[in-house]
Symmetry: C2
Subunit: 207 residues, 2 copies
């Protein structure tokens, strides 16, 4: 599949700051140059939120089944045999203004649809449980060709998932994501400002 896009670069919104951003600094933030993954962008965004006291969100460690550990004298324990385990939850969770946030971030190279196989059934189950507990649950979806990043509430993802289970298409079309989700502004700091979307769509009151 070929998809032609002007120059493979993403548009970077430059914020007006007191010290202007230098050209080589901007380069650092370009996906095209660095091959920055969505995960790296989300992690840097979460770090920004953490540093600024905006939200406390962490990526969960990769779950690993540890089988054999060596404890050499005078040095750190070495895990000699371990296996990757399937995660039973989404990758990210945390707290924002007292509310529980929970999300998964996935990207696709396809131009016009997002395959649902990017999610596992137990992640879907987890999202359902979080929604029942009144948590804020969503997915961050990146179309890497156009470098557009969308915020899609889990409730919509679940609808598309059910459509698949009922024999429907195994993906969400980009049009459906545009119609049901929100384009997340890409800025330098934070990189993927999903809290801005949350502020727009969820009512917050002081507890």
């Amino acid at each position: 599949m070929t998809f032609h896009y002007p120059n493979g670069k993403r548009y970077i919104e430059t914020k007006q700051t007191s010290s202007p951003v230098k050209r080589q600094d901007l380069k650092k933030w370009s996906y095209g140059k660095r091959g920055m993954t969505l995960e790296e962008d989300i992690n840097q965004t979460n770090q920004y939120y953490l540093d600024k006291g905006i939200a406390v969100i962490h990526k969960k460690p990769t779950p690993v089944q540890i089988v054999n550990v060596d404890y050499p004298k005078r040095s750190a324990a070495v895990i000699k045999e371990a296996y990757f385990k399937q995660a039973s939850t989404t990758d990210y969770n945390g707290v924002y203004k007292g509310k529980y946030l929970d999300f998964e971030a996935k990207e696709t190279k396809l131009p016009s649809s997002f395959p649902l196989k990017n999610f596992h059934e137990h992640q879907i189950d987890h999202m359902k449980k979080v929604l029942k507990q009144n948590g804020i649950c969503f997915v961050v979806i990146r179309f890497s060709l156009t470098e557009e990043v969308f915020f899609l509430e889990a409730v919509h993802l679940l609808t598309f998932w059910d459509r698949m289970l009922n024999g429907g298409r195994k993906s969400i079309t980009k049009e459906e994501i545009v119609a049901n989700g929100y384009l997340i502004p890409l800025t330098i700091q934070p990189r993927i400002d999903f809290i801005k979307i949350i502020n727009d769509i969820y009512p917050f009151h002081e507890d």
Copy 2:
């Protein structure tokens, strides 16, 4: 250090249920017989909350720095070299009625005080950040000799931590935990019902 306790068994509060609990079933739940750890008890409690739709709380996987992975043909990837990393958060978090919950569970064999070295500085920092975000943050402390389990809000832990930083004692006395915390009822299902304490001390309103 010796500490004499009548029979080394914990008192088990038996709930009146339609089918009475058999003696051999009770045995299964006895710490004394099985050497059940606090972590196992908390995990089973969280599983109970999950199964009953009461709350969604998970233990975070142990953070591991993976250095070398073998990908044998026709079988699962094997991690051949990895190291334990220091966690930057507490072990447990999740959602209850929309609110973010965050806690750490620790036990001591000492009879009358709880050493603060059970916590790491970055866990304390994390708790501070969670409290600033209005999350519900606490520690579950078990005195293994008496098998008493206490719920202590993080705000109190932070006070004792600061006292230590200011040259005070390096532990919390059991009296202080009794005075500032809550004894968690130990039941068969769930084992350590900390949600009951949360219901008692935090105001919840429907969002």
